[in-house]
């Protein structure tokens, strides 16, 4: 903000003139004087940044003018200037939304000057926050999730639906498919986008610390709790709490989480008071939670409570042409960021990219393409620039020189993991009888 537009509402000519002179010492201040309350109200459309309002005006009382301003333009700070100090009036005016109360004495001009600077600083910060918020919003716009495949378009539709309400969302998908990106896209397109999005990776926090991390704790709740701490649920108030790797949560804590979700309130560890929570919950996991429920690792009641709107992210290998689209996108972005000039991908290299299963999904693709961009000569990526460092690549496997039986069981296990233990599908893919697979499982040649 360059110019600060200031209204001075003052019927005393002298005082008005003096205020004008004083405030205009700063060339950034643009002062306009009004003699009557009504004149000020009629000119509010000019959107002043600050109003100095004399308390006793000929037409309307200061409190009437203040109320009218606050009704239509609650964001404009109004500073009451009064001929005498009257604490009860001052308190009442502040309650009605006045920004400050200044008495016309020898300190008045200092205080007006200070108030003007405060308002200016606040406006500058507000502008900056607004700008940053917009930046963040555009960063997590839908356009950051790239793809044209049917599989990903279905995800876009679900994100849009999720953003319209505050329903709980559960995101599943293999590692590297972009679960956090989807959570952010939902948050930054929903009503609570100006409120915080708080992400917690359940797998990254030791079980014994997780409870206080999520729900907070009071001072002295346990050894080492020297200070009170606000939990992530409280932090996310009005916004979104994103619980990543929810499948890794300890079964005892699951019971507490369930209670929080049902009651919509938390109790800090060691505390007695409950705190109302109104954050949207988004959970994500790479596990099949239904399976975990069957195995007894995940509470069934919590599973249903969290299911909400399920969004299943497709693995990259099922996203057809998105693989090439993304590969090119990552190469372009990397080249732009590092000023490498245009980099192309040769058709042999493209074939190599398309025929790889991408177990690490988009994350792996990005890493591989960035490395390829660095290794590429003459602005062209060739097959030898593309290195898969996946742990179960066939080259590594062969170098181990295991028995054929061992290889067979490992290959089948790999497929079973990949296709969600769907024996019929795997048998078809590998062109073996499903009874072979069942027999191997029964004989413990394959562990699942």
């Amino acid at each position: 903000m360059d110019v600060l537009k200031i209204f001075v509402v003052e019927d005393n000519e002298l005082y008005a003139k003096m205020t004008n002179h004083h405030l205009s010492l700063n060339p950034d201040n643009e002062v306009e004087i009004f003699r009557k309350g009504k004149e000020c109200l009629d000119n509010l459309y000019k959107r002043p940044d600050l109003i100095f309002l004399d308390y006793s005006l000929p037409d309307l009382s200061g409190i009437e003018v203040l109320r009218k301003i606050k009704q239509t333009h609650p964001e404009i700070p109004v500073i009451i200037v009064s001929g005498q100090e009257d604490v009860s009036t001052a308190v009442e005016l502040l309650k009605e939304g006045a920004y400050d109360y200044i008495v016309k004495d020898e300190n008045a001009k200092e205080r007006m000057w200070k108030a003007t600077n405060n308002v200016k600083e606040n406006a500058r910060l507000r502008d900056e926050i607004e700008k940053l918020r917009e930046e963040v919003n555009s960063k997590y716009d839908f356009s950051n999730i790239i793809g044209n495949s049917q599989a990903i378009k279905k995800v876009f539709t679900l994100i849009e639906k999720a953003a319209q309400t505050n329903i709980t969302v559960s995101i599943t998908g293999e590692t590297g498919t972009g679960k956090e990106l989807v959570a952010k896209a939902i948050h930054y397109n929903s009503k609570g986008k100006s409120k915080p999005m708080v992400a917690v990776n359940i797998a990254a926090i030791p079980t014994e610390l997780l409870e206080s991390e999520l729900f907070g704790h009071e001072k002295g709740a346990f050894t080492g709790a020297v200070n009170k701490r606000i939990g992530k649920f409280e932090e996310a108030q009005g916004g979104t709490i994103f619980l990543d790797e929810i499948g890794e949560m300890d079964i005892l804590l699951q019971a507490k989480l369930l209670r929080v979700l049902q009651e919509k309130e938390v109790t800090r560890v060691g505390g007695n008071n409950t705190i109302k929570i109104n954050a949207r919950v988004i959970v994500a996991t790479h596990r099949n939670l239904a399976e975990e429920v069957k195995k007894g690792n995940f509470r069934e009641d919590l599973y249903y409570r969290l299911l909400g709107l399920p969004i299943e992210l497709p693995p990259l290998r099922e996203r057809d042409n998105d693989i090439m689209l993304l590969a090119k996108y990552f190469v372009n972005e990397f080249a732009k960021e590092n000023k490498l000039g245009k980099i192309q991908i040769s058709s042999e290299a493209q074939k190599k990219i398309m025929s790889y299963p991408w177990p690490g999904n988009v994350r792996e693709l990005r890493a591989v393409m960035e490395l390829a961009s660095v290794l590429a000569d003459d602005g062209k990526i060739e097959p030898e620039n593309i290195n898969f460092n996946s742990t179960d690549s066939i080259g590594d496997l062969l170098s181990e020189e295991a028995t054929l039986r061992d290889y067979t069981s490992r290959i089948i296990k790999h497929y079973l993991d990949k296709y969600n233990k769907n024996v019929v599908l795997v048998a078809k893919k590998l062109d073996v009888g499903k009874s072979t697979i069942y027999r191997m499982i029964k004989n413990k040649e394959i562990e699942i």
Binding site: E13, L14, M18, H21, S56, G83, E106
Partner: protein, 112 residues
């Protein structure tokens, strides 16, 4: 010429060296205050103490600004008595003093 009954140091400090500003402030003072003073006396004579208090309230900062310190407290007393609505014995003398001193200040300021 008698001793000045006003003190422009506060005004000059505000002006920050701008004689023009001081001049224009004196002009404004002379333009508005005599009328206000007239209204004040009228209201007093008509026994409209509430209006009188309101006008005193408006004149008060002018008196402070021009450093007319002789009636600094008197104008406040006029406002206070007017507000409480009691036609005190003090009032005639106070009004008279404010009237005299302010008129004197008008004369002096005209030749500033």
């Amino acid at each position: 010429m008698a001793d000045k009954i006003y003190d422009l140091s506060q005004l000059e400090e505000l002006a920050g060296g701008s004689d023009e500003f001081v001049k224009s402030m004196i002009e404004t003072f002379l333009e508005h205050t005599p009328g206000q003073l007239n209204d004040l006396v009228q209201a007093y004579r008509q026994g409209d103490l509430e209006t009188m208090a309101g006008i005193a309230h408006k004149i008060k900062p002018n008196i402070d600004l021009f450093g007319i310190n002789e009636i600094r407290e008197d104008i406040r007393q006029v406002e206070k008595l007017g507000k409480t609505g009691q036609n005190s014995d003090e009032l005639p003398a106070l009004i008279d003093k404010v009237n005299t001193i302010l008129n004197k200040s008008f004369e002096q300021l005209k030749s500033h």
